[in-house]
């Protein structure tokens, strides 16, 4: 039940793109085409989940016991950067086809604030799950949260890429061309997602 609540809330209610505003830059950058959007979503999903597990453990077993919470930001970003590099190298060796699909997006992910954002959120924010008192997530919940959040990222991204492909064929006033109309469309989409806030 708790896990279901985390999943629904992370995918729909608190969608990372449409209500938390994380990872907007790559979202606007690669949502031109459905195929790139899908590739990016896959890569983000992979890295967010992995990075969250690693940073969660580092925070719990290295930073907290030694009173080094103030090094959180710097430690997390370095871990994420290193992790992305490792994933890239490993993927290239083990699964060239997957590397082909995700490879070009990997370097972009280091500076995707969604990754750092989720990593920091799970170790600092207290969640209230189904009326229980708000508390920090444990490792299992954190992993599920990270996975669900990145699935939410993927869903929003792919939906929007579909919309944007249609948008490209339409006549749009000069000043609205490109980003402005895209932003307004996302706004309307975000409004639709607001409707989910009643369910949790």
């Amino acid at each position: 039940m708790e896990y279901l609540l985390i999943i629904i809330s992370a995918i729909f209610v608190n969608n990372i793109l449409l209500s938390q505003f994380l990872g907007i830059c790559p979202f606007l950058g690669v949502s031109n085409k459905l195929s790139t959007a899908t590739g990016m979503s896959g890569a983000v999903c992979f890295v967010i989940t992995l990075a969250t597990i690693v940073t969660y453990l580092i925070n719990k077993y290295l930073l907290l016991p030694f009173g080094l919470e103030f090094l959180q930001t710097i430690a997390f970003i370095l871990v994420i950067a290193a992790l992305v590099q490792i994933v890239e190298i490993v993927l290239k060796k083990i699964s060239p086809s997957l590397y082909q699909a995700l490879g070009i997006f990997l370097p972009l992910i280091t500076t995707n604030c969604a990754v750092l954002g989720v990593a920091i959120t799970v170790v600092t924010k207290e969640f209230s799950l189904g009326g229980a008192e708000a508390h920090l997530l444990n490792l299992g919940q954190a992993t599920v949260y990270a996975l669900a959040t990145s699935v939410g990222y993927g869903i929003a991204m792919i939906l929007f890429a579909g919309l944007r492909e249609h948008l490209a064929g339409n006549h749009v006033p000069e000043a609205f061309k490109g980003l402005p109309i895209a932003l307004i469309t996302v706004g309307i989409m975000a409004m639709a997602f607001l409707g989910f806030s009643g369910i949790v």
Binding site: L18, S19, Q20, F21, L22, G23, I24, C25, L28, F70, L71, Q72, T73, I74, I77, L78, A81, T110, T111, N112, C113, V115, L116, G117, I120, T121, T124, E174, A175, F176, L179, P180, I181, A182, L183, I184, V186, G187, I188, A190, M191, F193, L194
Partner: protein
Amino acid sequence: MSKWSLVTKGFVKDNPTFVLVLGMCPTLATTTSAINGLEMGLATLFVLVLSNIAISALAPLVPDKVHIPVYIVVIATFVTVLQLVMQAYAPGAYATLGLFIPLIVVNCIVLGRAEAFANKNTVVDSALDGLGIGLGFTLSLTVIGLVREILGSGSAFGFKFIPGDGMLAFVMAPGAFIVLGYLMVLFNKYLKKK
């Protein structure tokens, strides 16, 4: 480029929000009111100026292969300094901006300026560049925050002048996207290089 134009270019010509379209996450997330936008802008300005100075000074000494990790470490250091200073002297603002203070590390404006400007210019020019872009960012965020605050809460900089609740949607997520979209339209139409 004269020193003065380095500082003023951030307002219109190289405006980080409307022309370069960088740092969208804090732009959308923290502009629920003019004050919040202003505070976020100033926080970014602080990191931008310091990291630009440090990176332009370090750049000649850093081998090319490791320059990105070095820049990230430098930026993360200044962000942490900012976090500590804000907790000590501006705890209110630190609580409101929350997650988006540590996320300045991955704000593409900061790394972008380091790569595009600071690593090949003098310390003074880099500092001015950081100041200019930072001020432009602050201005954009304040304007977006102001528009959302007027429409959504009927107040400006915390002073309420329209009674009632306002249009809540503008304070919430959809309003952020829509206001930014329309402001970008106005910017394209009237301010972009003629």
